[in-house]
Amino acid sequence: MKIMEEIRKSLKEIVKSLISEKKVEYVLGFEEGTLPLKSVPFYIEKEEDIDRLIWNEYCNLNLVKFLLEEPHGKKIGIILKTCEIRSLIVLINEKQINREDIIIIGVPCSYGIIDFNKVSKLLGGKEFSEFTKHGNDYIFKGVDFEKTIKLQDILSDSCVYCKDKKPIEYDYLVKAPNEFKNIKEEDFDEYLDVIEFEKKTPKERWAYFKKELEKCTLCMACRNACPLCYCKTCFIDQNQPQWFDKTDDLSEKMLFHMTRAIHLAGRCTGCEACTRACPEGIDIHLLYKKLRKMTKDRWNVDKIGLGEPSVMGSYKMDDPQEFMVKED
């Protein structure tokens, strides 16, 4: 796409000025991976590296995670989309990162990013070695097949239902030639998939989660991809008390995913890095999206801005409590 090239061009200019003026120690972006349609995080330290910087629809990691490893006081530039900026804001609010240390280069999001679990599902698990694109058609070629897939079929769910295309907090903003729109052209509800799911019977809902979570191998890829999962010792790794037996039991998987979801209540910003990171292709995003819908419905907190109190760390006297058991 032409627009992507233009974004890349202006990104390069910004990064170049940041590095040549020594405003940052490095800029965090993406470079081309060794496999087709793969990108890897890229630490740009020297001016001659800048040409390797890429920006496109398969830059699908949440780079904020990498900032957590850096000591306070180190100046870092980072290229982020809106949902990732929101997760950075949560980390700044939780005093994990200093706002002054980070120079945010905000990029308006185009249609969104690709979920490779969807690609491999559509290709029937086959591996592709080549791809070309014509507009919104992606042509995947492998050893003995060739398949054309439309972009809207492989977009990450977070992007399909995203209405949040413009960066909210930034130091530099990349100018997008046009105002970007969602791939769905008509007006839609952001939480449409959750609302649809809630209409099902409890039995159907349980059957769905059971089917999905049975695939889990407790590999912790979701936890490791999530920028908001930064505990030094995760509850699943604790051994005093030991909350988890090391078994391949569905109840363990349920317990892990439910507890992780509760830990992310009011914090998850919906970048869905966890869903894309899952090697088993588990559709875990519904849990987190439900939490976001819930905080909105219950406490009227939609998305947390810089300096606002956290949802679970604050309260109102008249919070709804209709779920409480009352005496007769």
Partner: protein, 163 residues
């Protein structure tokens, strides 16, 4: 009588005949774990005992400093190891010994409650209530209510079945 894995997980309305048979077979009695806050609900339970108010013996009490001390993980873990229902009880809003512990707890509980309902676990497995130190009768009533509800739901096969 054993249940097939994957069948009849957690639907209160469409309870299968198999469960009914099983309940009759094994003289099953619900087992309920209750997390009571030290300052109100535990004292309420104490008052119920001192006043000789009758309530079902199906409840086992864990005393905690405050309802804000309850991690949702405790509740999920209780269900996993096979308790048929969980009751969490604390001071009425505004009465917390630690000023605001129960307000934070209320937010945590509503998240857990919604999430459990969302994944299809029936309402009634996890119960929350406010009981003050002066409400012995109210405590007994809540225990009666929760025990009855759990009896209707049948044995907890949510996580236990998988173990």
């Amino acid at each position: 009588m054993s249940l097939n894995k994957g069948e009849n997980t957690m639907v209160d309305t469409e309870k299968s005949e198999k469960i009914q048979v099983m309940i009759a077979d094994e003289n099953w009695e619900p087992k309920i774990i209750a997390f009571l806050c030290n300052w109100c609900s535990y004292a309420g339970a104490d008052l119920a005992g001192v006043s000789r108010i009758q309530y079902p013996p199906n409840v086992r009490v864990v005393r905690v400093p405050c309802s804000g001390r309850i991690d949702p993980l405790f509740i999920l873990k209780s269900l996993q190891v096979g308790w048929d229902a969980v009751l969490v009880s604390g001071c009425h809003p505004g009465d917390c010994h630690y000023i605001s512990g129960n307000y934070y707890a209320r937010r945590k509980f509503s998240v857990l409650d919604d999430l459990l309902e969302f994944i299809g676990i029936d309402k009634g497995r996890v119960n929350f209530s406010w009981v003050s130190a002066a409400e012995g009768e109210a405590f007994a009533q809540i225990i009666r209510k929760v025990t009855e509800r759990t009896r209707k739901l049948g044995p907890n096969k949510i996580f236990k079945e998988e173990r």
